[in-house]
Amino acid sequence: MMRRFLGKAGIYSAAAAVLVFSVFPFVWMALTSFKPNEEIFTAVPRLLPTRWTLAQYRYVIDRGGFGRYFLNSAVIALFTTLCGIFVASLAAYALARFRFPGRTVFLLLILVVQMFPLVVLIIPLFIIMRRLGLLDSYLGLVIAYTTFTLPFGVWMLKGYFESIPSSLEEAAMIDGCSRMAAFARVIVPVSAPGIAASSIYAFIGAWNEFMFAMTFINKESMRTLPLGLQAFFGQFTVEWGPVMAASVIFTLPVLVFFLLVQKRLTTGLVKGAVKG
């Protein structure tokens, strides 16, 4: 009894510590976003606004453009996630189930590009995008983000597929499925947690990215949210209140996305295992 209680207490106190550490900057940001300008900086810091206001949010929305940035970011992030999962799971399946020349080389090759600092890649990348006519387009950013979030997806899913006994698909193939159908019907559902984790990674990667978007996008109508956020960092001043409000707006959709996929993170195997 006592031991169980101690175990519970341990879990909750650890959870509380993690909670405080990860939530604190966001809470600080959110609280600040409800303060009027003159309360944002005070000689003695104040946690809560004395006068709650939505003025910062109104300012952000009045500036206009945010709806469009939001749409752009959402489209790009969703397509990056879909493309990323599609491409990565095909590759991971090949790597998990087949032995072929160049297998190890491929696994290392996709890691190589991660090892270079972006500064030296950015000019050649810009030139490629320009030649392909992909500046100022969704497609350009989707391709770039998919490529740069690929390694994790491939490695993660490869590990996942390997942990699933091949007897599972073989059984399906005996039942008359083709290999691809067996993969799609048997392997993919069982790997839901891995796919969910990879998709969160791809989604946030695309949602958050600044450097590529800054370099490849010139049109106001094609800007993404991280670029839009820059509107409040001026040459001579920083508009603190709007930065905070815009950041809160920026963060929320990802949480919604997470809530949508988080069930998959934990229930995939249980179902699969029962089926298997």
């Binding site: 990860s22 890691l111 190589v112 030296v120 490629i128 946030i204 949480l255 993170l265």
Partner: protein
Amino acid sequence: MVALRVALKRYGFPYALLLPALLGVGILTLYPLLNTFWLSFHRYNLLRLGQAPVFTGLENYRRIFSDEFFWFVLRNTGLFAGGCVLATMALGVGVGCLLNVPFRGRTILGVAVLLPWVIPKVAAGIVWKWIYDDQYGILNFILTKLGFDFQGFSWFSSAPIAFLAVGVVVVGQSFPFIALSILAGLQAISPEIMEAAAGDGAGPWQRFTLVTLPMLKGLLLILTILSTVWDFKVFDQIFIMTEGGPAQSTYVMGIYAWMTAFGEMQMGRAAAIAMVMFAILAVITLIYLRIARSGEGLE
């Protein structure tokens, strides 16, 4: 040629599956990587845009290796990245395991853990800088309230403390990714194995080290590689919070490469720095792989 045709016939299916991935990697990364390699043997100043790069052999490398500052920055980077990777992995694995335990409020914790990862980097850097502010920062205020004398304490005037302050931010932004992946990985371990281990009398710690860790080996390998790579290249957080200061004492390779490329405009030398960074990371990765392979390995 014949060999190729045989290989294609025999391995056509897996190659076809790899094709989409190779296409992206091929189009986007091949040219920039080769370009970087080629430039690293040239003198190419962006200020002289009209002039073609001049071949200088190993001059860029010689200049980097003979620069005392480079070795200082490399040491900084090694220590900082090493510390960050250790802390990130430890925290990430811990939180991942925690999230795997069913308890009330688990979803809330899952969402909360995600927050530091989601907040846009520039905004996060600026908010953190403000939290750390010597005069008006909430951190000094809280610490002083708790009875420590942190009034006016400066988090950014000496390198070790500045690294610590930035490290907290870097780890805070990268552990959620590790935690979530570990959580997903843990799901692949069937409860039966755990129950069997428990039946054999293994305690929680033994179950963790003898069952969980070996099963997660492949995942831990890639997560460690990626964390190492990212933390070794860290740029944004330091650029925003310390700008490498005071007196260049918090320079890391990411800043050094940026300053050479877009500060001094020496693209050739920046490419050489990138090649050096790549070589170091490649060696570290191969060492990781070797360690992992000592058990069962990449295959």
